[in-house]
């Protein structure tokens, strides 16, 4: 393990001559993105393409008694108006459950509602027209008669005897429940000198991708093939689902994903309306386009984080944490989302709470209930922001109660760096973490003692600044333990094919996908390094199920760690193949040769023996000159999946420094720090930018973002003026540091970095606000988002 300077390259056993590992190489796709020449699905237009707008339920729960289409059919440009019942003849319904989430249940969900709409915004009828505007015009002429049904909106009463059951056949409104007891929680609480109990509430929010969900489906009856241009994170997963529910074989479906205007976990699910689009294309035998408008995005993009958690911590006067207990309740909408389920977030909270700490006395219960609101599912850092806020909130409240410095209580309780391999309270397995190195690093980086002195000084002048910390662990590089074992066809392995072209450049085809995080750059860096060419001579192809090895795509911080390792191995394999060819040309031994800088060189002296373009020329055009019996193999594919550990946990610590205006309740973010350990850092700049972007998304949930529903299940703020997201002026500069503990599961040693920022930021901000207000005797704030109103309430001013 070593502590590296911010953005500095790291050294490792991976160092080959001219290695790009650890270098901030610019991404290859940025030119087109800065010139307005990107190809987002929302930009796409195909011959004969028609557009869809959906008539959506205005009610949270209603029986659909009649759909009158005559007037709409006469509207200009209308091609077809299709109901849920009609589309059910083309595409089968699905149930979002996984077998490893014991007892999870859900009801069949259709592409378009059949008979009953279960949330405000569920599609009840599709209008297909020449343009989107004409489709929307006709939507207004479709008359739907509804019989409104009672809406179940409050998770707290969802399981009460008097509450209507949303899906009668399921028997109750309980989707999933998990109880977990580890160690001796009762004894732990009994031996505590102090116990803190509080309730944390997390506001339902959503991803707000700048490009809304977009899909163009093109069923070609001549080829009996469906091509789907889809803004998705997981093309192969979607290929499987489209095929399965349309009654096709997977080879009949091609999913193409070019540029995607933001994902963050929003675009890794099977959305009912998108399933409807592929079905409409099959039905109408022409390309069909759907791009969600912003209101549709707010009522149909998955929401997340709607949790109420009652939590307890026991602590001794010397700071030793003795026990944890949580009781989580979450409402996930009327259906468990397909195919990942809506049980994972609660499951993760049970898994992750207390994760960074040694205390293993732990009791947890999580209940997931149905409700008549938009569906909830996995959004960036799934469960982590909640588990981290609960854990770190409890730790700081406990520290305050026993009057101990928040940094010190962590120092006394974080799992020691030399104690690994180890386990978290829930039994999650840690290969190697570096909490104490991270803590020491952030202590120095932020000048913790200096900030505390400044804080005391300013308080005397009536200025209330707070410092909040949040240690975290983060699930990355998931093995098949995440979804595969539960029966979902979501690939944990990923593959990379590397081929030498006829001029000595290499082309990499990878199953991981580019969502803007820089996967293409990382694959290029790794392949260039392991094979031995300048990065300018590497092209990366992603996002096409016809042209990439089968893989999982981008989610759970897996693209660099898993896709990167596959690229490393594929590059090595191709190097061996090319050296065999070079050896036969040069009458040398392969082990005496290497590939460096795009040329075959003498391994010892580095002297150039043969440029790659010359080798390619001979192998492709003059193979007759090669020795008899020798066949050059200039394509290599390698796959990788973590096997030693179910997940490569990363760790880190964040800190927030902010000022609260105690008269207005406004929070000004002054600075944010994050020290994290994602193992080998392949591209320091890209890692840092993932951290920064993630931190800001976490801050969004802590301070601004909230899907506000009324008691009838109506979303009250489904637009970007009323739903607030972080803006440039409100965000702080974020300093990022690294500790490097490579995973031994792969040669590359890289873990994921895409979600760590989001995991810890809400907790750090919460703790900083409470730290700022503590001398004023404010009631600790534990309900996100921390709006000015809630802050003034805590101060007793309103």
């Amino acid at each position: 393990m070593k502590i590296s300077e911010d953005s500095a390259p790291i050294l490792s056993a991976l160092d080959r001559p001219n290695s790009y590992i650890g270098r901030s190489v610019p991404r290859p796709n940025l030119g087109r993105l800065t010139q307005g020449r990107a190809q987002y699905v929302s930009d796409l237009s195909l011959p004969r393409m028609a557009h869809v707008a959906f008539v959506r339920s205005p009610h949270a729960h209603a029986r659909i008694t009649r759909i009158e289409r005559d007037a709409a059919r006469r509207s200009p440009g209308v091609i077809a108006i299709v109901t849920g019942a009609e589309l059910a003849n083309v595409i089968t319904p699905w149930v979002g459950v996984l077998t490893h989430l014991k007892g999870i249940k859900s009801a069949p969900q259709h592409a378009i509602a059949v008979e009953r709409a279960c949330w405000q915004g569920e599609a009840v009828c599709a209008v297909v027209a020449r343009t989107r505007a004409e489709a929307e015009d006709a939507c207004e002429l479709v008359e739907v008669e509804y019989q409104e049904l009672p809406a179940v909106t409050d998770p707290e009463t969802a399981l009460d005897a008097g509450t209507p059951i949303i899906h009668a056949e399921l028997g109750d409104n309980l989707t999933f429940e998990r109880v977990h007891v580890a160690g001796k929680p009762d004894e732990g609480f009994a031996e505590a000198d102090a116990i803190v109990e509080t309730t944390f509430v997390f506001g339902r929010h959503t991803g707000v991708t700048n490009e809304p969900r977009a899909i163009v489906a093109d069923w070609n009856p001549g080829d009996a093939r469906l091509t789907v241009y889809h803004g998705t994170q997981a093309p192969h997963m979607m290929q499987n689902l489209f095929a399965k529910h349309l009654g096709l074989e997977e080879h009949q479906v091609r999913v193409i994903t070019k540029d995607v205007g933001g994902s963050f976990g929003i675009k890794v699910h099977a959305y009912a309306d998108e399933m409807g689009i592929v079905a409409l294309s099959k039905l109408l035998e022409r390309p069909i386009k759907f791009v969600a408008d912003r209101i549709e995005s707010f009522v149909t993009d998955i929401h997340a984080r709607d949790h109420r958690i009652t939590a307890r911590i026991g602590v001794k006067n010397d700071g030793t944490i003795t026990a944890w207990e949580i009781d989580d309740l979450t409402g996930i909408g009327p259906y468990s989302v397909y195919p990942r389920t809506s049980g994972i977030e609660a499951n993760q909270i049970v898994n992750l709470t207390g994760g960074p700490y040694s205390c293993a006395n732990y009791r947890a219960r999580a209940r997931v209930v149905f409700q008549n609101k938009n569906v909830m599912c996995q959004y960036r850092a799934v469960g982590h922001p909640i588990a981290t806020a609960v854990t770190e909130g409890l730790v700081e409240l406990a520290a305050a109660k026993i009057d101990m410095d928040p940094l010190e209580i962590r120092r006394r309780n974080l799992i020691p760096d030399d104690a690994h391999p180890s386990s978290g309270p829930s039994g999650i397995k840690f290969e190697a973490l570096s909490h104490h190195a991270c803590l020491a690093h952030i202590d120095a980086m932020m000048d913790y003692a200096g900030l505390r002195a400044q804080q005391r000084h300013l308080r005397a002048q009536g200025v209330y600044r707070g410092i909040g910390l949040a240690a975290f662990v983060e699930v990355t590089n998931p093995s098949a333990a995440f979804y595969g074992i539960g029966g979902a066809k979501i690939s944990a392995q990923d593959g990379v094919t590397v081929r030498l072209d006829a001029q000595g450049a290499i082309i990499c085809h990878t199953g991981v996908t580019e969502q803007g995080q820089g996967a293409e750059a990382v694959i290029a860096q790794v392949a260039a390094s392991s094979f031995g060419v300048p990065i300018e001579r590497v092209r990366v192809i992603t996002g096409d199920t016809d042209n990439t090895p089968y893989g999982g795509g981008t989610w759970a911080s897996r693209a660099a760690g898993i896709g990167g390792e596959a690229a490393w191995q594929a590059g090595k394999a191709l190097r061996a193949n090319v050296l065999a060819c070079a050896a036969s040309i040069l009458q040398a031994k392969p082990e005496h040769l290497d590939i460096r800088g795009g040329a075959i060189v003498d391994a010892d002296s580095g002297t150039e023996r043969l440029p790659l373009h010359e080798l390619a020329r001979i192998a492709y055009f003059r193979p007759d000159t090669l020795p008899p019996g020798f066949q050059a193999e200039l394509v290599a594919t390698r796959h990788y999946v973590p096997r030693q550990w179910p997940f490569a946990f990363t760790n880190g610590i964040q800190a927030s420094h902010l000022e609260v205006d105690v008269d207005s309740g406004f929070v000004t973010l002054l600075k944010h720090w994050c020290v994290e350990d994602c193992g080998t850092v392949i591209n320091p700049q890209l890692v840092d930018e993932q951290i920064r972007g993630g931190v800001v998304q976490g801050i969004g949930g802590a301070l601004f973002e909230h899907c506000l529903y009324d008691e009838r299940g109506q979303l009250l703020n489904g637009n970007m003026a009323d739903y607030l997201v972080p803006m440039a002026a409100e965000m702080p500069d974020i300093e990022v540091g690294h500790v490097v503990t490579p995973t031994a599961d792969s040669e590359l040693g890289a873990k994921g970095a895409g979600e760590a920022g989001t995991a810890g930021a809400p907790a750090a901000v919460m703790n900083a606000i409470n730290d700022a207000l503590r001398p004023l005797g404010a009631k600790p704030l534990t309900e996100m988002p921390f709006t000015p109103g809630r802050i003034l309430e805590a101060l007793g001013k309103v």
Binding site: L30, G31, T34, Q35, G36, A38, N210, D259, Q697, M720
Partner: protein, 162 residues
């Protein structure tokens, strides 16, 4: 008289364009759907996010809040046109070097807005850059890289002028 459809003539990226448009068509839909200039994006559709930012007669406006018919006789510039000149070449390069974009969806609007700020001269403070770009939402970067890139270009341009 049919008041719904209107003949308009305007200049887009230096090219003369004459089209018959539906009165309700927004400028950004007109650019994207009629002229296939898809570099300007649609994000919020009500003037908040800035993804549709384009220049009309030299000023950056929201393409979703202006109607195409309002642009009759005007000069419109989109990212495709501006990127073909060398006007923002340094800014584009700074965005690339600093990784000041991830998904890139906000980037055309961000570049045009940043250029509007920088063309007023001087070296704005980081706070001033943040404030000026506050009407352009980015969901990926957390903004710091964008501020860094714009600040670097401001310094470089000021240095070049000295």
């Amino acid at each position: 008289m049919n008041e719904r459809f209107h003949e308009i003539a305007l200049e887009v990226n230096g090219e003369k364009v004459s089209e018959r448009v539906d009165a309700r068509t927004t400028l950004v839909d007109f650019l994207r759907e009629r002229l296939a200039l898809t570099g300007s994006h649609v994000g919020c559709e009500h003037g908040v996010c800035g993804a549709c930012s384009v220049r009309v007669n030299g000023a950056v406006v929201r393409g979703c809040l202006m109607l195409a018919v309002q642009c009759d006789g005007m000069q419109v510039a989109t990212i495709e046109g501006v990127a073909r000149t060398d006007e923002i070449a340094d800014l584009q390069q700074a965005f690339i070097e600093r990784n000041a974009l991830q998904c890139g969806y906000c980037t055309p609007g961000m570049l045009l807005t940043a250029q509007e700020l920088l063309s007023s001269g001087g070296v704005p403070s980081r706070e001033a850059i943040r404030a000026y770009l506050s009407g352009n939402y980015c969901r990926c970067t957390g903004y710091q890289a964008i501020i860094d890139a714009v600040e670097a270009v401001a310094h470089a341009r000021a240095g070049a002028q000295r």
